[in-house]
């Protein structure tokens, strides 16, 4: 029984697992991008107050293994608060928190370090602040941020696998359960690996292409 045979034997299970993985990734991506951008912009605008908070949280989260955060939110915290929360929500929350602060840190850095000379050049050329934002700042920031953010989102997609450890029925957990029945670890995890390669490689490729293309054009020297 090969990898494809196993997928063909359990199509509904794999499909459901895939849907949960996609739902989780979409939740993490959208909340991360929305709140990460807002928080990053806020932190760049107020480097003294919000900026320090973002830097502190990003620093702390970068040192905290995601697995520990997931377990802590799922078991001790819920036990302490005497509540039971759906594991999907717990996983989405934990991954989103990590994503939000990682994106906020990247956005804050890009905004804070934005080369002011390009804005000065726009001013003396008669561009209004709105035109400068639209035609100068946003395109330059876009070129700086998109490759980094794409690569981060690929990492977040891969991190959804950890949700299986708190019983979220995503694709890795489905694969584990099927493996427990048929015991074909090589075939099952190869199929899983191919699935992630098919999803992640194109995104990574786009990120790399954008990085090469736009970094070249960004540098004046």
């Amino acid at each position: 029984m090969g990898a494809l045979d196993i997928i063909a034997a359990y199509p509904r299970a794999f499909f459901n697992g895939l849907i949960v993985t996609i739902q989780l990734a979409l939740t993490v991506w959208s909340t991360g991008l929305l709140f990460g951008f807002l928080l990053g912009a806020l932190a760049a605008g107020r480097p003294g107050s919000y900026g320090r908070i973002v830097s502190l949280f990003s620093f702390l989260l970068s040192g905290l293994p995601l697995l520990v955060l997931l377990f802590w939110l799922h078991f001790p915290l819920q036990s302490m608060l005497n509540v039971v929360i759906d594991p999907f929500i717990t996983a989405a929350f934990a991954l989103s928190i990590v994503n939000v602060f990682a994106i906020a840190d990247i956005v804050k850095g890009a905004l804070s370090d934005f080369p002011t000379q390009y804005v000065v050049a726009a001013r003396v050329a008669g561009l209004t602040p709105r035109e400068t934002l639209l035609h100068i700042k946003t395109p330059i920031l876009f070129r700086q941020l998109i490759p980094v953010l794409l690569m981060l989102q690929v990492t977040m997609l891969q991190a959804t696998l950890f949700a299986s450890l708190i019983s979220v029925e995503e694709i890795f957990r489905v694969a584990q359960r099927i493996n427990a029945q048929v015991y074909k670890p090589v075939e099952i995890y190869t199929a899983l690996g191919i699935f992630f390669l098919l999803v992640c490689l194109p995104i990574n490729g786009i990120a790399l292409w954008l990085k090469v293309r736009f970094t070249r054009n960004f540098s004046e020297s």
Partner: protein, 253 residues
């Protein structure tokens, strides 16, 4: 006329401009010279309305922009009637040189954009590289594009900070010739330069700055007969440096 009066500017508690007054007249070239750290670029930024001085006033064609720490200016946008070309070019890196030149015109819905740009491309011999990005061309080519971007705006006052620094002798000579055209068109020019040949050819009046103050000002004759020991020392150091270099063919003198 573009002029500043009694400008005081300080960075982190240190005065970089101390009661400086300068005039830029239409159809004339005013050159500012002086050692590094004299406050030349800071003065240019004040005249270009980029930096707001702590005190003093900048006036453009009768509109006075009073400056103080509590005043934000300007009420009427002075750009691009007054515009600037900087030593570091400041070309927008995500746009081709052609787009760098045309974007401000497109946004202002200027009608004869193509005619203006084509004329400038011809004047500055940019046709071979104008469709490239700033990082794909040489320093001299970038500098020509930055100058073309400013000139395309058809400003009344053009402020230039060391624009010949990245140009070779032939290109610098072409810029000098172009200055004459700009002067004849009634554009008031203020330029910071260390190029004495450039000064002798193009400048109508010269201002020597040191330590944030104007030490001496006058016509081109002050380059030959300086009145102050400071300018004398500066020029002798400069001349000895220039003499130590092998003269380059076509250098404007």
């Amino acid at each position: 006329m573009l002029k500043c009066k009694d400008i005081v500017l300080a960075y982190r508690g240190k005065r970089v401009l101390n009661n400086v007054s300068v005039e830029v007249e239409p159809g004339r070239v005013t050159a500012i010279i002086g050692p590094s750290g004299a406050g030349k670029s800071s003065l240019l930024r004040c005249l270009a309305f980029i930096d707001s001085p702590a005190s003093g006033a900048v006036t453009m064609d009768g509109d006075e922009y009073l400056a103080s720490e509590s005043t934000t200016f300007p009420l009427r946008t002075p750009w691009p009637e007054v515009t600037a070309v900087f030593q570091q070019f400041f070309l927008w890196p995500h746009l081709t040189l052609r787009k760098n030149i045309s974007l401000p015109l497109e946004l202002r819905k200027v009608k004869d954009i193509e005619i203006r740009i084509t004329r400038l491309i011809d004047q500055f011999s940019m046709s071979d590289f104008v469709n490239r990005f700033p990082n794909e061309v040489s320093g001299g080519q970038r500098q020509r594009a930055a100058l073309a971007r400013a000139l395309a705006l058809e400003p009344k006052y053009l402020l230039m900070d060391e624009i010949t620094s990245a140009l070779d002798a032939v290109q610098a000579a072409a810029i000098v010739n172009h200055m004459t055209v700009l002067k004849d068109a009634g554009i008031g020019i203020l330029m910071i330069t260390h190029h004495l040949g450039f000064l002798r050819r193009a400048a109508d009046s010269i201002v020597y700055m040191q330590d944030g103050e104007i030490v001496e000002a006058g016509g081109k004759e002050i380059l030959d007969i300086p009145a102050t020991p400071e300018l004398k020392t500066f020029l002798s150091a400069f001349n000895s440096l220039e003499n130590s270099n092998t003269p380059r063919q076509g250098e404007p003198r």
